[in-house]
Symmetry: C4
Subunit: 289 residues, 4 copies
Amino acid sequence: MTDATWHGGAAAVATLTFDVDAETPILAAGRRYADHLMTMSHQAYGPDVGVPRILELLDELGVPATFFVPGWVAEQRPGLAATIVERGHEVAHHSYSHRAPTSLTAAEQRADFERALEVFDAQGIEITGHRAALWEATTTTLELIAEYGLTYDSSLMGDDRPYVLGIGDRPVVELPVHWSLDDWEQYAFLPEPHVGSAIESPRKVLELWQAELDAMRHYRCLFNLCLHPFLSGRPSRLMAVRELLETAQSDGDVHFTRCRDLAAAAHADPTLAPRNPPAVTADPTIYPV
Amino acid sequence: MTDATWHGGAAAVATLTFDVDAETPILAAGRRYADHLMTMSHQAYGPDVGVPRILELLDELGVPATFFVPGWVAEQRPGLAATIVERGHEVAHHSYSHRAPTSLTAAEQRADFERALEVFDAQGIEITGHRAALWEATTTTLELIAEYGLTYDSSLMGDDRPYVLGIGDRPVVELPVHWSLDDWEQYAFLPEPHVGSAIESPRKVLELWQAELDAMRHYRCLFNLCLHPFLSGRPSRLMAVRELLETAQSDGDVHFTRCRDLAAAAHADPTLAPRNPPAVTADPTIYPV
Amino acid sequence: MTDATWHGGAAAVATLTFDVDAETPILAAGRRYADHLMTMSHQAYGPDVGVPRILELLDELGVPATFFVPGWVAEQRPGLAATIVERGHEVAHHSYSHRAPTSLTAAEQRADFERALEVFDAQGIEITGHRAALWEATTTTLELIAEYGLTYDSSLMGDDRPYVLGIGDRPVVELPVHWSLDDWEQYAFLPEPHVGSAIESPRKVLELWQAELDAMRHYRCLFNLCLHPFLSGRPSRLMAVRELLETAQSDGDVHFTRCRDLAAAAHADPTLAPRNPPAVTADPTIYPV
Amino acid sequence: MTDATWHGGAAAVATLTFDVDAETPILAAGRRYADHLMTMSHQAYGPDVGVPRILELLDELGVPATFFVPGWVAEQRPGLAATIVERGHEVAHHSYSHRAPTSLTAAEQRADFERALEVFDAQGIEITGHRAALWEATTTTLELIAEYGLTYDSSLMGDDRPYVLGIGDRPVVELPVHWSLDDWEQYAFLPEPHVGSAIESPRKVLELWQAELDAMRHYRCLFNLCLHPFLSGRPSRLMAVRELLETAQSDGDVHFTRCRDLAAAAHADPTLAPRNPPAVTADPTIYPV
């Protein structure tokens, strides 16, 4: 650790990420929900109301961010990805349809992965990183990332610092996520499809994330926060994000960066040895189910 | 936004709404629950104990409110709607039976919608607005609202300010709701039918709503609070509502109004352009489930 | 309300009740759990460790309480009910087997109800009140209570003050309960059978109950607290109960009483008119499910 | 109680225990999850990142602990158990595969139990105690513990002080656990397999455990804390554990010990009479399900 350079001397590195899922996670749970107007409007709030408000906040605070956008969403809202990039942020790959890779065949995963790349290519958006839908990456997911020359993935949980995945010939940096740094588990609620069962106070969520950031400054980790515009774009939740960011800025030792820039720093860090993703063999005589 | 007039100059507009569901959501989940005395009494507490206590509080504070009442409930308790109107509040359409429109055919939706109108017509209650049962509106729901000349709906989540739905020839104002401004997710608990899994402290709920109201004053939004008399009519929960209202009154820049009055102000606001509800087409080759 | 006498002039009346369920709710969920040692020991903790500790606390504070004991539990632990009565508390009827009456035929309900009475009769324990297992009373439950001359039930939620049930010829007083004044929803957790999904801090629970007691002093209600020795008998939870009781005692206007004594006061109150339990008729053409 | 010696005069005895489950609980829920990389990495974080960080903290504070390690985990990570023992801590039996004994035949339980013993024997790790996977011990589990001469089990909940199980000829001490002193219910979250539905703030968890420790000092109990490195090894959660330990150390009357040492003290305590585990007979005429 003592020679590591990925953090550039900061106590903690913070990547502020927004998963602009819009309607996709709901449609992936059931095509019929397209006719459920409340549910669709609940999701549309994300790109339509949340994203503009978030961009305004980021401008005001001067914080760069990364927006993971499913190809379907970029296609349905043609100006969305370009606007984000024009404001100085990164747009990254978040599948085409937001179906979990673990629920698809390898061929379906490839088709979905490539279709998203085509959408962004057609829109002139340069993509260098990936986050799996529902974070449910498979070995195929990682192979596609390496094959297409992306520099990082952000879907796994094997550490709380960047690490290098040894997939095929090219190194891919993993920028690990965690359930506790995601707004979904704190705020998401829908009865059908069933999503979440509690709605927490932004005060509690701020306390949770603030404590983790403070501890990560102690342990020198990556604070990789995952927010959803349809959730954290709501007024009081965004005010909590503002307070979190302002506190981190006043701490003075937290470095905010886009995922692609952190990935570049991690690739350049000779202390990050390749670590294969866990290859678990489950013996059916031991685990028969 | 700068020319908008719907808010009348207030920092935030607050509509205090009560869904007087009584037994209907439970009967919609299963007719057999009519014989479960505890469950029925749990629901009956709403109109029988909660509503009188709520009306007393509103009188004391001078706050106008809107009561969404299923037709079945108005029919079973003949004096209920009239009493609410006599106290200066609004009674609005909340379906007849509280079955989710998304679970009904178009013909069933029409029959349920019209039957509620007949009940209120027979009781001399003038209806100008609607909220879908479980907020589960369909396109048919919105068409019925326009067909019958109601001025507003309050079931969708596409924004946190009023907006105009472009349905057929007549404009209908949407007064959007949200899960985080509903007491159901915070307080409701029944093992059978399974409703809720946690019972929050009124202190937490007050913190949640107070934070949203404060942030909505910052962003100039509609604070559309949805309460259920069988839940928020309980002593300590009503004390929390009282504290919320008193704080808002002392803020001096929050305007309390009935939904119908806000809908009229929104209809008169030339800056509110019609916005169609999200018309999502989900391609079965992408979303096969 | 002004002439009511049931409260004896106190701002709020508090009935501290303990449901000594032991293994019964688990066995009712599945006989096979008898072989799950952890689960059985989790339930046995109630009568074996919780009850002695609770009795000690009640002695120390001089607070009378009511213990609802299933007949099966009294039978399995022969000295339990007698010890409770000797310490000055009330033992009341809580079914024989703790199966929900709503899941039994009328004949099964009668057999279960009478078998519990036989157990207490054989042990010389005088029974004057009843609480349904899982609070799931049916009309048959109330008829049995009236038939056997018990003076009260404590299973329904139609009010937050005592009321009189008009069942048959004899009046029966209802001492209403509520989910928010039950420790089960706050503390209970078992993966199999699935019971609960969160374990709250006693600090939060104390806040919840303290707020309700304070508001009930404002509205002059019955604070009918339902505790389970296997849950609230744990050290920090019992300390929270102690704090609640000590605060109530220092308030000076809360009257603690056994259910049977409150029922007697309610029977003697001429202002409590008979109110039938909700007789809900659910039309199958409206509620087809 | 007055003559008891197991506590050595301390107000409370604290056993800090870590269940190093790694991938096993997930594989036991479904072998297919071996291909879910995020889930596997989420579990691998425990031994790979959590355990080293925990060992460092324990060194710093001088607190001894007990690590319950499934045989499969010890086998997959050959140096893990030895490292723990070298740092002065105890490694104890936590099944081979982490399948619940209640879901296995007696023969399967024996095979799983013995296979774990063989792994530890081959690694030169001396085992003296046991904790059942998921705490789901059966009578067979206890008989195996006695047969193989282990001195204690730590899976049941019949008390909050050590007690002696009367199994066969040899006494086995039970060091009881409880759901409220486990980090799983507070922190664990996975959508598939479904694990947990809320992620609590370490501040709330610290409050919960601190209150229990304080009350256990009042009642002189065993504070048997169960932590999982994949959960409590996360930065802010480990900081909360640190704060809990430091407070306990500054209290001056809490004795930290390894389970095996406490078991020895309990065996030497003549006041701990054998208590059979609850032998519950559930009559099928009463409990037909």
